[in-house]
């Protein structure tokens, strides 16, 4: 039960090196092959207490007096997470861990100019049928410039609200250890407050902890299996989709740079 894959923190050079170091020590006998994901050997507590491991593969914390991980509540889990992170900061003063992002509006999907200002499509009508005249008179101008035909301002409002609702749902899952299936009350936000330091814009990239090129969802699942100690979600699980939406929304405006570390 305590034998776990090496945890590691998403995407960071400094941490990546740490995990790689741990991995190559074990795999030194087979040079030339990709390092297999190393295992973080979480030590057993002498008193049978719960031991929580940080994803750097070495930092652990014994939760005194708690034998059953199910008894940990959100507040306590946050305290545990804070302590582990503080310990990690102490060990890695040079670490490049992003601060909490500015709390901007969640999703602001880009929208084309308002329907009233857009060009009206002329095709499919003849001068004599006066479609343009009717459109003007009826005020039902439909907007050109969308990929798939003409849509109204109402459509755009619905799309925007739908996207925002998905982001909101992702926000909820990201912050809810039960929804994530955590056995130790840890949720994503405890290490990544408000989605900090997730860098969705750098995927796909080589993920050191996984020993292969990964998508954001692979890394999310890695975090769910390791620090969160839950079961990996199916790639098309609605919770996974919603979390991806939320994580991307938090990085709106950041330049897309796949492969970057």
């Amino acid at each position: 039960m305590n034998a776990r894959k090496t945890p590691g923190i998403a995407a960071l050079g400094a941490l990546g090196l740490l995990s790689l170091g741990a991995a190559s020590a074990k795999d030194a006998s087979t040079p030339g092959t990709s390092p297999a994901p190393a295992t973080h050997q979480v030590p057993r507590s002498a008193e049978g207490n719960v031991v929580i491991a940080l994803c750097d593969g070495e930092t652990t914390l014994e939760v005194k007096g708690v034998k059953d991980p199910a008894q940990i509540d959100k507040k306590q889990a946050q305290a545990i997470s804070d302590q582990l992170m503080a310990e990690w900061y102490r060990k890695n003063p040079q670490a490049n861990w992003d601060p909490v992002p500015p709390r901007v509006a969640l999703a602001q999907p880009p929208t084309p100019p308002p329907a009233a200002k857009a060009d009206v499509k002329k095709q499919g009508e003849s001068a004599a049928s006066d479609a343009a005249g009717v459109a003007k008179q009826k005020g039902d101008q439909e907007q050109a410039g969308h990929t798939y035909g003409a849509f109204s301002a109402r459509d755009e409002a619905l799309w925007k609200a739908s996207a925002e609702q998905m982001v909101k749902e992702g926000h909820r899952v990201f912050h809810d250890s039960k929804e994530l299936g955590s056995t130790v009350a840890i949720s994503c936000d405890m290490c990544h407050p408000d989605g900090a330091n997730t860098h969705p814009e750098t995927y796909p990239k080589y993920q050191v902890q996984l020993g292969r090129v990964a998508l954001l969802r692979d890394m999310v699942n890695w975090c769910i299996e390791n620090p969160v100690r839950g079961k990996a979600l199916a790639e098309d699980d609605p919770r996974m989709k919603a979390m991806e939406a939320y994580i991307f929304a938090q990085r709106k405006g950041v330049k897309l740079e796949y492969g970057k570390h």
Binding site: S129, V134, A161, E164, H175, D189
Partner: protein
């Protein structure tokens, strides 16, 4: 602390998300507060007094020329606000050109009528009253004069609007009543809210097909923000080509539109075969020839017969129509194609469609399902050879989802409607 800041973030998330409490009661599951905000601007929020007056007017046959027809004649609340007839019957047993659509959830429509010629419920409410075939009043002034002459209405209008009856107030009251007729709370909504047993196996397979091979969601897409299962757009799916020489009719319509005046065109739209031109007579845009609005699928099981002319009696007929790719005509929507659904697959999609019936219409649903099932073996639209690709060359046929791997119904993102616990 963190939770509080999150709430603050959400509050900043855009005006669309700002949701003041709904006016009368909390919305049932399957009714979207966001869509309500978008569809009912503050100045059109119904008041209790308007609703009471509107309901009375809605049911009052005296609004028609010979006191024989009310709004409720064609939109009978007991029949989910439809009349169950292929094409509606007005005064003097006159037969109109179109099937009466349900009032349920009509408040959420982007436009009203099958061809979308009215933008609001207010605008819509008056037109059947002055339609010569429907309620037969000569004009709006005559309606107002008649209402003024009925003893009980002037005091009520005085109480609600503070003045004598006017056409505007009449429309406002009827529309206010119609805006209370939202409907959700279907088995499907309970399924989404986490009750995995709310849908039967057939209904779940139907939901997977709906989003996949049957391609229903091309036009009938729904999500938690817009749970109507309608894109509110207009499509030519070839229904009129059943009964008419469609190219000839289209040529005639083009001639009329290019030479006729607006009033003449309106009359033709209502009273003649040119009604089959649908949206075209509204927009005069040739792309719209023979296209009609995608109706909502909420309560679709109990609001038949189907299509703008009520020509399809059962949902099995509807599925047959789509299965063979509609009826070819020069203006057929490009999205129409053969589906290649097998008989059991058609049964599954129909089962799912019935699962969109509101709980309070369960008795009607049972009756309708039984009656539609009884007609299942009489299927005029069925063309098995074409549907299964044994005849003709009409494009590719979709692949049945392999439900032994995973049922997309368990995975599709419809939107947050409750705890997304594992299904």
């Amino acid at each position: 602390m963190k939770a509080l800041t999150c709430v603050a973030v959400l509050a900043l998330g855009g005006t669309v998300l700002a949701q003041p409490a709904p006016p009368q009661k909390p919305f049932p599951p399957g009714v979207s507060p966001v869509l309500y905000e978008l569809s009912v601007p503050p100045e059109r929020r119904p008041t209790a007094a308007q609703i009471t007056l509107g309901e009375k007017l809605f049911n009052d046959k005296r609004l028609s020329a010979d006191d024989s027809v009310s709004c409720a004649t064609c939109h009978d609340p007991k029949r989910a606000f439809t009349d169950g007839l292929p094409r509606s019957e007005g005064i003097k047993k006159q037969r109109g050109q179109r099937n009466s659509p349900t009032v349920l959830n009509a408040l959420f429509n982007a436009t009203q009528f099958w061809d979308g010629r009215a933008g609001t419920l207010e605008e819509q409410a008056l037109l059947p009253i002055i339609n010569p075939i429907e309620m037969g009043m000569p004009d709006v002034e005559a309606v107002v004069a008649k209402v003024k002459g009925l003893p009980e209405y002037p005091p009520e209008f005085q109480k609600v609007f503070g003045r004598e009856p006017t056409a505007e107030d009449l429309a406002t009251a009827i529309a206010a009543f119609e805006r209370t007729q939202f409907s959700g709370n279907a088995r499907f909504d309970r399924f989404l809210a986490g009750d995995s047993k709310a849908l039967s196996a057939a209904e779940k397979r139907g939901w997977a097909l709906f989003n996949g091979k049957a391609r229903c969601n091309s036009c009938h897409a729904g999500n938690a923000v817009s749970p109507l299962f309608s894109d509110q757009k207009f499509h030519n799916i070839g229904i009129a080509a059943h009964q008419h020489d469609f190219p000839k009719l289209a040529a005639e319509a083009l001639r009329v539109v290019r030479t006729g005046d607006a009033k003449q065109i309106d009359e033709l739209a209502i009273q003649t075969n040119l009604s089959e031109m649908g949206r075209f007579l509204v927009t005069k845009n040739e792309n719209d020839i023979g296209s009609f609005k995608t109706p909502t699928l909420r309560n679709v099981g109990v609001t038949g017969p189907y299509m703008h002319d009520g020509s399809l009696a059962t949902l099995w007929d509807v599925m047959d129509h789509y299965n063979k790719g509609g009826i070819p005509n020069p203006f057929l929507d490009g999205g129409m194609q053969r589906l290649g659904l097998t008989e059991p697959e058609i049964d599954d999609v129909v089962a799912f469609l019935f699962a969109l019936t509101s709980e309070d219409l369960a008795a009607l649903e049972k009756k309708e399902l039984a009656s539609q099932r009884a007609r299942k073996n009489k299927r005029p639209e069925r063309d098995t050879a074409v549907a299964l690709g044994k005849k003709g060359n009409l494009g590719d046929i979709g692949v049945s989802p392999d439900l032994s791997i995973s049922n997309p119904a368990d995975r599709g993102f419809y939107g947050p409607v409750g705890p997304s616990s594992e299904k």
